[in-house]
Amino acid sequence: MYGLGIIKGLGITIKHFANTYVEDFKQGIKRYTAEDRFTARQGLEAQGLFTVQYPEEKIAVPERFRYIPFLVVNDDDHPDAPGQPWCTSCGICSKVCPPQCIWIVRSTDPETGRPKPEPQEFYIDIDICMNCGYCAEFCPFDAIKMDHDYEISSYDRTSAHIYDLQKLTKPLSYWRTIAPTRAEEERTAREAKEAAKAEKAKK
């Protein structure tokens, strides 16, 4: 029958439209305010309106989310070395980087002239970075991590899009906030490694 396709098509659209109001009626204002309702609205059981009202509400990104990398430094209240970068400038991240967007200048001790395990300069060209996450994955010191901040659009790239050490560093507490489980796992792994090392040293 001609026209049936149109009626069926309009039917599903109307059903979808009406469902939003049915849900609103059933759940009231809580549908938009209560924390757990967001999961329901954006999950498999979603009924009716599926839209995220960005920027008023944003989907929180998962812990493994990858965007531009950042360098982990000690928190400001660290007892021994506040603000000390974890990076030892071993260069593994710049070697694994598939598009080669990481530049590192290794520090040298001014007296002995020997290399020091910390970066003097560290650059990432975010116009080349492909967010693959290899740098974070293969860093043996947990010193480089993928940031979750995706709201970084800008008006100018010539000055703003090569990130330097200052722009790249973020404290450990930030990493703990954006990826609590992973930070905890890494801490346990590091402690186990330290313990094993100490055990070995004793022997």
């Binding site: 599926f50 839209t51 995220v52 009202q53 960005y54 920027p55 944003k58 989907i59 990104v61 965007y67 531009i68 598939p98 598009p99 080669q100 060209d125 975010i126 116009d127 080349i128 970075c129 492909m130 967010n131 995706y150 709201e151 970084i152 659009s153 800008s154 008006y155 100018d156 790239r157 899009h161």
Partner: protein, 220 residues
């Protein structure tokens, strides 16, 4: 948007207390930009991977209709915003410049993703343009490979802020005389930017740099 500069009723002009609730004072700039920023029509035009995220943004979950941007126009004549969504290749850039020239002013360009901004992971390749801003002016750069839909929406908001900062007295499209079209690049032995003709002639007339030419090919 609660931003002070963005709000429409912000008179900078003393309004008597008793009239505060009855009249609204705004500047012509503000009402002009307010209406423009809320009806930016993007061009329906995708290049590569980022286009998929652009389409995902245009779908129900992120719904750009909330910004007045759901009307994707396939014709450059009807579009206000060109989203360079993906890698710009040398073969494609003449078409992009031509499309940009065909857009009517005011027109805006968003470089979505690393490739459009600066070549991205393919920058080292021989057939990729290292940033569309070498050819057409870009208003907003959105880093990421690819930017998530939320990042693209944030880029839209950044663009709206830029639009709202413009003044009707200084915008180029109300100046006298015709605006100059951007010369369309030509596909030669490599991409030729007509603005560089003199430079190409100069460089080519110099003897070739032997240190580069004598480089041994890879053997290992």
């Amino acid at each position: 948007m609660s931003n002070e500069a963005v709000s429409l009723h912000n008179p900078d002009y003393p309004v008597p207390e008793e009239l505060r609730h009855n009249i609204a004072i705004t500047t012509l700039d503000r009402i002009y930009n307010w209406s423009r920023a809320r009806s930016v029509w993007p061009m329906l035009f995708g290049l590569a991977c980022c286009a998929i995220e652009m389409i995902a943004t245009a779908a129900a979950r992120y719904d750009p209709a909330r910004f007045g941007m759901e009307v994707m126009r396939p014709s450059p004549r009807q579009a206000d915003l060109m989203i360079i969504a993906g890698t710009v290749t040398k073969k494609m850039v003449p078409q992009i410049v031509r499309l940009y020239n065909q857009m009517s002013e005011p027109r805006y360009v968003i470089a979505m993703g690393a490739c459009a901004s600066g070549g991205g992971p393919f920058k080292e390749g021989y057939s990729v343009v290292d940033g569309i801003d070498k050819f057409i002016p870009v208003d907003v750069y959105i880093p990421g490979c690819p930017p998530t839909p939320q990042a693209l929406l944030q880029g839209f908001i950044t663009l709206h802020e830029k639009i709202e900062g413009q003044s009707i007295t200084t915008v180029p499209w109300y100046r006298k005389g015709e605006g100059e079209a951007i010369p369309v690049p030509v596909l030669g032995p490599d991409l030729i930017d007509p603005r560089q003709t003199a430079l190409i002639r100069n460089v080519a007339s110099q003897p070739p740099d032997t240190s580069d030419a004598a480089q041994e090919p890879a053997t290992d």
